[in-house]
Assembly symmetry: C2
C-alpha cells in the first residue's frame, strides 16, 4: 500500500490499515513532501497568535511514531508521477534529488490542497505568507519577529494586511492583533465570511471593527509594494494603498490534484478527485483518495463540493484505511458544517446558504431570531443570532447559521444532526435538548428558530 | 377554556390559544393556587445561590401581563373539584374563601408536581424547606438569612443538610456553599445522581468532595432533630447525626394528580396523567394535560415516564394551546435528556441508562471514553468522560452520558437528536459536527465514543 501525502487523511488511512493488517500481511509506504506529518493545520492561527506554544503541539503523531508502528513514512519525499496501469509511483527524495519507482497494490492519494496565491506584482516578496502548512507557520512567525525587532511605523506598532476574510482570514486577523500588530483585512466580497449569508456576515464585520480590526470590503488587491530591500511596504488595491510590513494570504485553497489529473483520474467541478462512498476513486479498482484533495457529497443538495477540513480528512482516512486493508466502511457525505471564532465572536453554519439553496432550485423560507446562550436571567447569558432556512411545502431543514458569543458556535451541531436525519423544522421544534438555566433558555435558540421557521413555512404555503 | 395551574404548561397553553383565537372567539380563564405565574422553578437554585438577583427575574410573564393579553388569570385561587360530565370546575378564592363553579368547553390540566416530603419526626420544623415554587425559595432565603444572622456553630460557619443527591440536591448544595454554609448531602443511593449509571455518578461524587461538599451515600434519613425553640439542630440517619441549622429537601417530585384521579382520569404507573400525542387526556374529548402532571412517551423505550422539566412543560403548553384553539400540533415524546451542573462540573444524559435498557429487555454494549472540550493543544481544553450505550446487533444508539467541565454538558444534544432520528452508532461516526480547535478536538468526544461503540457492537456480535 502506497500513500501519497503524510498529513491527516494519508496517515489516518495508513494507521487504520496497519491496525487491521500486521506488517507480515501488508507493507505500507507513505511519502510526504514537507517536514511534518499528521499535524493540525487548523491550529496554525493559534500557534501564530501565541495561544499554542510551538509547532510540536500541533503534531498528532511524528514521523518516528509512525515508523514505530510499522509505517515506512518517507519525509521530504515528493511523488512526481503516478503510473496507474503499471501500478507504481515515482518519488523524489528532496534532500538527495534521487528518484525511483515504487510499486503498489493499493494506492491512497492524500495530496491535500494548495493555497490560492494570485499572480500579483510583489507576491513573491519574503514578507508575503500563506498559512497552509507548519513550514508556512514557522516562516510567518520568523517574519513577525523580525518586523517586531525592526520596530513599527512612527505612528504606532507594526502593521499587517490580511488578504481575504474567510475562516483563515479572520482567524489570522485575530492572531496578528494578539501579536501586537495593527491589522487591516482586505476583502474582495461585500462582507466578511461569504460562507454565511450577507446579513449574518455583516454581524461579523461589525464585531471585527469592535475588536480593532480594520476591514475593507469590496477591496480587490492589485499589487504588493516592496521597498528597495525587497521587503513589504504596502498592499495596493484599485482604490488605495494600505501600509504593511507583513502580508498574510487567506484566500482559501484548491485541491492539489495535478498528479491525479495527469494520470487521467476523474476530477469534479472544483478540481477535486471524485470518489464513491467507500472513498475509492471513481473508475478505479485499487485507488482511494481523501482529505483536502477530494470533493465530498453534500447530503443536503445532493451534489459534490470541495470542503477542506481536518475533521473530514480524518474520517476519510479511517474509511480508506479500513477498505484498503480489506475491511468495509463508507463516508456518506457532509452537510457543510463549519465553526470559527474571531476573538470572542463565534461563527457557525451548516447546510445551505440562501444563495446555494437558490442555485439548487429549492424554494425556501428563511427566518432569523435573537436569543441567548443561557437562561436570560442567568449570569453571562450571551446573545446570539440564529438564521434558519427551510424548504417550502415540505418544511425540511435546509440550513442554519449562528453568530454570537460564547456558547453559540457548537449549537450548530443540533442542526447538523437534524440535517443528516432530514428532519423538518416542525420535527425539530419537539427535540428534547438539554435544558437547565446555566446551559440554555427554556426554548433553546435553535428551537426558537425552528418554531419561527414552521410559522414561515405555513404562511408561505 | 379553563386552565388549572398558572405556571409553564398552563400559561403557555393559554397564551398560544389566545394567539390563535381572539377574545371575541374564546374566553380563557386560568386558576393559580400560588402567588406567581409563569416562572422558572429551575432557576430557584441560582436565586438562592445569589447568581440571580430576585424572584422577579425568574418570572417570564406576570399575572398582569397575562391579563393584558386577554387571559383572565385568577391568582391564589385553587381548583378543588373537577366535574367532567357537568363540564365545570369548582374553584376557591384562597384570600376570601369564596368558592364557585366555572363552566368550560375545553379544560387544560396543568397542576404540576408536589415535592416528595417523607413523613419523618421533625419534618414540619420551620427550618426544613422544599424548593419547588418561588414561595418555597423565598421562605428558604428568609431562613438562610436568619441563620446567618444568628451566626454559625463555634467551629465554623452555619451548616446545612441537603437530603437527596439528584439534580435539585446537587444544585442546592452548590447554592448553599455559595451562601457560606458548610454543606452535607445525605443520599440514600450508593452514589449521587441516580439519573446516571453508577460509574458516571461516582465522578460526580468525587467532584463534589473536591468542592468541599460532604456527600454521605447510603444514608437513610430517620428524623429531623429540633431544639427547644423548634428550630432545626440536626438530621439523623440510621448511623449518625449531622448537625444543621437548615435542611433542604431534594427528593424529587410526584405528579400532582389528586383532582384528576378523583375525576376518574387515567393515570400511569408513576401517577401522571396519560395523554395521546395531541396532549389530550386519554378517553376524553375536550380535556388536555401537560407539564409536570403528565407522563410522557419515552421514544427510546416506547413506554411512558414521569420527567418533570420546564422545557417539556413549555412544549406541552404550545401543543395544547394550538389544539384547544382548533389548530393542530403534537408532542411526539422525549428521549430523556437532562443537563445540570454543580460548581464547574457539567452533568448530562440522554436516552437510557444501563439499568433502564436492561429493564426494557434490550441487549446492549456500553463504552466509555475520555476526551477534551477543545483540541488538546488549545488553551482551556477541559476533560470530559462520555459513556455510550448501543443495542447489540442493530447498533442503534440507546443512550449517552457525559460528565466533564465547561463545554461538556450541551454536547449531549448531539446524541439527543441522533436518538430522535433512531441513528446507529455507525451512522453517528460520520456526523458532520462543528470542528475548529477552540470548539472541539478533530474527532468530537461524542464521535470518539460512537467509534468505540461501533467496535464494541461488532465484537459482541
Amino acid at each position: 500500500m502506497v500513500v501519497v501525502g503524510g498529513d491527516a487523511a494519508g496517515m489516518s488511512a495508513a494507521s487504520q490499515a496497519r491496525r487491521l493488517k500486521g506488517e507480515d500481511e501488508l507493507e505500507i509506504v507513505a511519502f510526504e513532501r514537507g517536514g511534518f506529518s499528521s499535524y493540525s493545520a487548523c491550529g496554525i492561527p493559534y500557534w501564530v497568535g501565541g495561544q499554542v506554544d510551538g509547532a510540536d503541539q500541533l503534531i498528532a503523531r511524528s514521523p518516528g511514531e509512525h515508523r514505530e508502528r510499522g509505517i515506512d513514512l518517507r519525509m521530504r519525499t515528493e511523488v512526481t508521477e503516478l503510473d496507474l496501469p503499471g501500478q507504481r509511483v515515482r518519488a523524489r527524495d528532496l534532500e538527495s534529488g534521487d528518484e525511483r519507482w515504487w510499486g503498489f497494490d493499493r494506492l491512497v492519494l492524500a495530496t491535500g490542497a494548495t493555497p490560492v496565491r494570485p499572480d500579483l506584482p510583489g507576491i513573491g516578496a519574503p514578507g508575503v505568507h500563506g498559512v497552509q502548512s507548519l513550514d508556512d507557520g514557522r516562516a510567518l512567525l520568523d517574519t513577525l519577529e523580525e518586523v517586531a525587532r525592526r520596530g513599527g511605523a512612527p505612528d504606532g506598532g507594526p502593521r499587517a494586511v490580511v488578504v481575504g476574510a474567510g475562516y483563515i482570514g479572520v482567524e489570522m486577523a485575530e492572531a496578528l492583533i494578539r501579536r501586537g500588530f495593527r491589522v487591516t483585512v482586505l476583502n474582495r466580497a461585500p462582507q466578511p465570511m461569504t460562507t454565511l449569508d450577507p446579513d449574518m456576515g455583516e454581524l461579523v464585520h461589525e464585531a471585527m471593527c469592535g475588536m480593532g480590526i480594520e476591514t475593507v470590503n469590496g477591496a480587490e488587491v492589485t499589487a504588493i509594494r516592496t521597498g528597495a530591500d525587497g521587503s513589504v511596504r504596502a498592499v495596493a488595491t484599485e482604490d488605495a494603498e494600505y501600509p504593511a510590513e507583513v502580508v498574510v494570504l487567506g484566500l482559501g485553497v484548491r485541491p492539489a490534484t495535478g498528479l491525479a489529473r495527469d494520470a487521467g483520474l476523474p476530477l469534479g467541478e472544483y478540481g477535486g478527485l471524485l470518489t464513491d462512498l467507500s472513498m475509492r476513486v471513481r473508475g478505479t479498482e485499487n485507488v482511494w483518495a481523501g482529505g483536502d484533495c477530494v470533493e465530498v457529497l453534500d447530503l443536503v443538495s445532493g451534489r459534490t463540493r470541495h470542503i477542506p477540513l481536518g475533521t473530514h480528512a480524518n474520517k476519510h482516512g479511517q474509511v480508506i484505511g479500513s477498505n484498503a486493508a480489506g475491511g468495509y466502511a463508507t463516508f456518506p457525505g457532509v452537510v457543510g458544517t463549519a465553526v470559527s471564532k474571531v476573538c470572542d465572536l463565534e461563527i457557525a453554519r451548516t447546510g445551505l446558504l440562501e444563495r446555494q439553496a437558490a442555485e439548487e432550485g429549492l424554494r425556501f423560507v428563511s427566518v432569523t431570531i435573537e436569543s441567548t446562550s443561557r437562561a436570560g436571567y442567568y449570569p453571562d447569558a450571551r446573545p446570539m443570532r440564529v438564521k434558519m432556512l427551510a424548504e417550502r411545502r415540505t418544511g425540511r431543514l435546509l440550513g442554519t447559521q449562528i453568530v454570537g458569543r460564547e456558547g453559540a458556535g457548537k449549537r450548530v451541531d443540533i442542526a447538523a444532526v437534524a440535517l443528516t436525519a432530514r428532519m423538518t423544522v416542525e420535527e425539530m421544534t419537539a427535540l428534547d435538548l438539554g435544558y437547565a438555566p446555566p446551559f440554555s433558555p427554556v426554548w433553546d435558540p435553535v428551537l426558537v428558530a425552528a418554531r419561527k421557521a414552521v410559522a414561515a413555512v405555513r404562511k408561505a404555503g
